[in-house]
């Protein structure tokens, strides 16, 4: 992979390309699910390509991740799903309730705390995933095909949601192959083709924010 790009702090951008172009791999490099064999990935000036594996959890707490198949725990309530990052970080119970309520409100699912994910529609499940990603207010939000299974209207709603997070200062990078969606919005787009970056300007090597 030969990729050079820089996502500025507070910027929202799209990452696009055909299936297999390396979108997911790129996101995995940023979240240290996979490690780069060469080159540099840095967040906030920290090189994370060779970060010690015991620091990886703390790194991931700073990145909200949203997945196409949303990775929810199906046997846990919506509340428990969203609270997971807060529980892991060791917030008090009162704080957790407050923040989960806030996150649910933002994604428009207020009042569905007690539901199980299975009782929700696909779009609602995706929103639960988004609420979990933003509940601990990470400075960076990564979304891998967040609208993959949704119809155009729901997809647009989800993107509007990302815009509101971006408005409050969160950097957002959305990987998608839905070019129609991208065309309707005026954000920078990085295009990957067979592991190479087309368009987008290059700064450092592979630098985030």
């Amino acid at each position: 992979m030969d990729v050079n790009f820089h996502l500025r702090q507070g910027e929202m951008a799209f990452l696009t390309g055909h299936s297999g172009a390396g979108k997911s791999t790129l996101l995995k490099l940023i979240t240290v699910i996979e490690r780069a064999t060469a080159g540099k990935v840095s967040i906030n000036g920290h090189n994370i390509a060779n970060v010690d594996s015991k620091h990886v959890p703390y790194l991931r707490r700073n990145i909200g991740m949203i997945f196409q198949n949303h990775h929810l725990l199906m046997d846990k309530s919506v509340f428990d799903n969203i609270a997971l990052p807060l529980v892991i970080e060791g917030f008090s119970h009162g704080e957790i309730r407050k923040r989960v309520a806030g996150a649910l409100d933002m994604v428009g699912l207020y009042g569905k705390e007690r539901h199980l994910p299975i009782m929700l529609s696909g779009g609602e499940q995706q929103r639960v995933g988004i609420a979990r990603a933003i509940v601990n207010k990470p400075p960076l939000l990564l979304a891998d095909e967040p609208t993959g299974n949704l119809d155009p209207k729901l997809s647009m709603d989800i993107l509007r949601l990302f815009e509101t997070f971006n408005d409050s200062g969160t950097s957002v990078l959305i990987a998608t192959h839905d070019l129609g969606l991208i065309a309707r919005m005026k954000y920078r787009t990085f295009t990957l083709r067979q592991g190479r970056m087309l368009g987008g300007e290059s700064t450092d090597r592979e630098v985030m924010r």
Binding site: I43, P57, Y58, L59, R61, N62, H71, P85, I88, E89
Partner: protein
């Protein structure tokens, strides 16, 4: 230039983290207990296996303890019988008695004269009147010597016997402790056997718990992946499993204790009858409260160890992809 926050560390202040650390421990400990209740059948099966596995070494421990307790009373019963040469005057025997009494190895000395010996023999042997037809008393006088506590061990008593046999009045002495030595060797063997069997069963407990935890980890694979994705540390993820192992150990230990008590209660009657035949007043001893605590502590440690080994091995392999 603005200060860059360190992204590879926790955001919460240290004091809050410490408090929450303990609260989380209690919560995770309790919730893993609840987790066990959610699948009662498999949990109970595992606990039963642990209980039975632990009850066997514990039962052997009870056996050794009781055997030692019984032989303790026999240990000090070592007595030396000295048979006096016939034809010695009463006077020389009395002087022997006073000399032997002065030995520091000797606790008590008692003397059975030839006449007394005959009388006793008549009474106990059942020959009765027949003996009175004898012209002469064939029995020697006997001096019974009880060694002091320090010399009541088989070797000590033997030393004393050699010393006593050097006395001119003494024909020969007898020390009836060979059976005691054999018993002690037997006990030693029993103890070693118990230790070996206990070691094997302890290993079995660790393996059973390790395997149970391995299955639990496999069952919650997706959950673990998600937790890793949202930034859970290994310590956080493994804690519920470690608590589960400890709970298994604790409950298995208590179960073993119950099994032992039932066993002792079941055997008590039969044993009392047996001991009654030997004129002994000993009652069978079960595990004391301190031993229960020790058993449960050991079991919970084994539970922790088993799950720790399992968690170390399997948790690392689960990574989000």
């Amino acid at each position: 230039m603005s200060k860059k926050p360190n992204i590879t560390q926790s955001k919460l202040p240290l004091s809050g983290r410490i408090v929450m650390f303990f609260i989380r421990h209690v919560q995770q400990g309790m919730s893993s207990m609840g987790e066990l209740w959610r699948s009662p059948v498999s949990s109970i099966m595992t606990m039963a296996v642990l209980g039975v596995s632990l009850s066997l070494p514990a039962a052997l421990q009870v056996l050794v303890k009781n055997a030692e307790n019984i032989t303790q009373s026999w240990n000090n019963a070592a007595e030396i019988s000295l048979f006096i040469n016939t034809g010695r005057s009463e006077q020389s025997i009395q002087s022997l008695l006073s000399r032997v009494k002065a030995f520091r190895e000797v606790e008590t000395v008692s003397y059975i004269s030839r006449d007394q010996a005959l009388e006793e023999f008549q009474r106990l042997s059942g020959f009765g009147e027949a003996l009175s037809y004898l012209d002469d008393n064939p029995l020697p006088a006997v001096v019974t010597v009880t060694p002091s506590v320090k010399y009541s061990s088989p070797t000590g008593a033997r030393e004393l016997l050699v010393k006593l046999e050097r006395e001119p009045e003494v024909n020969f002495g007898r020390l009836d402790i060979e059976w005691l030595e054999r018993l002690q060797a037997l006990l030693k063997l029993l103890e070693k056997t118990v230790l070996a069997i206990a070691a094997l069963l302890v290993l079995a407990v660790v393996l059973v718990i390790g395997n149970t935890i391995r299955l639990a980890i496999m069952n919650r694979r997706t959950e673990i992946e998600v937790m890793k994705l949202v930034g859970a540390t290994e310590a956080f993820i493994q804690r519920p499993f470690l608590y589960t192992g400890i709970w298994y150990g604790v409950i298995g230990g208590v179960l073993a204790w119950l099994i032992i008590n039932i066993l002792v209660w079941y055997l008590d009657g039969a044993l009392a009858e047996l001991l009654g035949l030997y004129g002994s007043q000993l009652t069978i001893q079960s595990l004391t409260f301190a031993e229960l605590i020790k058993l449960v502590l050991l079991a919970s440690f084994l539970g922790w160890l088993g799950s720790y080994l399992s968690v170390r091995q399997h948790l690392r392999n689960i990574e989000p992809s």
